[in-house]
Symmetry: C3
Subunit: 282 residues, 3 copies
Amino acid sequence: VNVVRQSPPLITLLTDFGEGSPYVAAMKGVILGICPQAIIVDITHAIRPQAVEEGAFILSTVISSFSRGAIHVAVVDPGVGTSRLPIAINTGDAVFVGPDNGLLSAAIPDALRPEARAGAGPAPVAAIAMRTIHLDRPAYHRPQVSATFHGRDIFAPVAARLAAGLTLDDLGSPVESVLAFPVWCAQRAADGSLRGRAITIDHFGNVITTIRAIDLPDASFTLEIAGREFNGPQSTYQDGPDDVVYTGSSGYLEVGLRNGNAAEALGVAVNDPVRVRPHHNP
Amino acid sequence: VNVVRQSPPLITLLTDFGEGSPYVAAMKGVILGICPQAIIVDITHAIRPQAVEEGAFILSTVISSFSRGAIHVAVVDPGVGTSRLPIAINTGDAVFVGPDNGLLSAAIPDALRPEARAGAGPAPVAAIAMRTIHLDRPAYHRPQVSATFHGRDIFAPVAARLAAGLTLDDLGSPVESVLAFPVWCAQRAADGSLRGRAITIDHFGNVITTIRAIDLPDASFTLEIAGREFNGPQSTYQDGPDDVVYTGSSGYLEVGLRNGNAAEALGVAVNDPVRVRPHHNP
Amino acid sequence: VNVVRQSPPLITLLTDFGEGSPYVAAMKGVILGICPQAIIVDITHAIRPQAVEEGAFILSTVISSFSRGAIHVAVVDPGVGTSRLPIAINTGDAVFVGPDNGLLSAAIPDALRPEARAGAGPAPVAAIAMRTIHLDRPAYHRPQVSATFHGRDIFAPVAARLAAGLTLDDLGSPVESVLAFPVWCAQRAADGSLRGRAITIDHFGNVITTIRAIDLPDASFTLEIAGREFNGPQSTYQDGPDDVVYTGSSGYLEVGLRNGNAAEALGVAVNDPVRVRPHHNP
């Protein structure tokens, strides 16, 4: 599997290092030292510390905005320095580089990922129909690999070498399986309702849920969250009452508050349960 | 009206999405997919949510630091998905892209903008002596335009197409008027004093006022804010007492505190009134 | 002394302006107006306001991640507009641009810098074996230099002109000495223990100390901080108990907390004392 390379090559970065972290700058310095023409785009560095699944979800929502050939580097890595493997995955559309802890789940087709289950962590899935390697060739890493900063010492130089033209074959050995989080979607209950959860909260306080709009063919529904009920969907923040339920820009149901912070007003936190009862069609 | 294009083209972004927002990354992915050679500079993404006027003011203070031909994309857009128009304005020096809600006031000559009035919102002004269009050509937007994220789906692709060489004529139809905030300057009272307000507060806690230094030809003055009086101007943070009033780097009077946070120490918030009494010249 | 220039030229920025500050954007606009092909990398803008030494330390930890020829611009500048000089230093490996207040200490060889002393500020050191200039040529600054924003009006245009090919000879006059902070390392007490302090705290709450791993040839030691004792070193966050002492990615001892914030849990602040007692070798 080859990936169409962009010219100039584009590398994205997603970490939990914090906005303004000099650790991010160190990664950029390493990348540009190896591939000076690379374009680097920050996805975000504001993933909550060690929140691997939230990082994986955020990555999944933005990759469709990038052209084919992007190299996505993600580092939310509480197991750095342990036996968890540093890996790279080539999907044909893009290459993903990071730790094998579920963070790169967006590189795995939904059909291969575990089914949605409340509270489930990442599970091993077969590395079928894609190319996945263990980054086990120290010649392509920094000369001194620290125990705590693989972002700078392994992932950044590997991404830069991919940007400069090396292939996954050059950079490591195939692995048979990788960890992936369950698909972010609702579970359908016997009564026809959909059960999901809050998966992330954006800067405006909008609550993004795991309920996908495509799973709701009905015209209207009632959404329950934090002991409150909302009727949906409205299409914009200006529709209907102040509390609005709408299909967000990534295709998931969101709960927002006009000119306010819904998560704070409702007391909602990441992973809180959400239930949707579709109304009967006329 | 043509604008001198830069090589490589330069696109700036100003939003209220929050630093570290993946929504910003999505806009960059779209831009670079259409115009890979574009240079993208973040103005800020820390505009307070829905604070349209503060965003408009901040944009006005930085555009003079950019060369001719820059494309400024601004998205503080509480009315996204409603009837407010997506627009672009070509001033001859630069192109501005964003919602028609006053955010692009810096593109409008002061002589056309409403006079300063306390508490006044944006008002329609004639689109004279410049070129302004409604971005009404879906062929140049993303194939699926969401109801809540025109930054990614309309403004980013339009800016990228301008960067790639299209003109406003290609991208939309002329409009007759646009919304603009009143000019950011003081109102002169019958007693000769100047009345303005705090328009924004920077990271250091310096309070930026709407009082322009060019409106104060006198050598010295007394500034009142939050029930306190300060004599000015000092020229640097190290002048005079700990509390200093000086002409900031954008030409407006600012109130600062040496090695401290003036806004917190004084209890000043955005929009608080400020009065300046010029002293008699000798 | 000439410096190898990069192609494209690379300019880094470190300030205390705050993440998302439009002041940073103004600097970038000025740089790109003079040298459109410059690659700009943000080191951080989250240095605590006026924390000159913390900024100097952070800069020292990241420069080794950048290739030869980088131009590092740093602005933590409480003395802006006073008699402190704007300077540039060419080390042969890189050029540093900023105020002469100790912020550029990383450009000074350790052998020339003052010895570590608790609470010591920057002191003058001879500008030997390097090239240091006072940026005293207004023709290379912005036409109007404000009293409060030399980042935009002096340092940015000077860095851009270095990126565009000018040399230090063009931009200013030699100076004999510059200010430098004492070397960041421990003081060895008569009993063989090492005394240092917390020099910065990262986004995860890891406490970075001034104790260098290379000063601890012994296999094990006890570290005292905030009235607590820790045995070290562990090599990763997953080693040993929840509280871990390890060699961080820049070669200094750090105190971390597995999946937690050590600085908050321990109540540690920047400049708090740290003591290390090496154990006897067997």
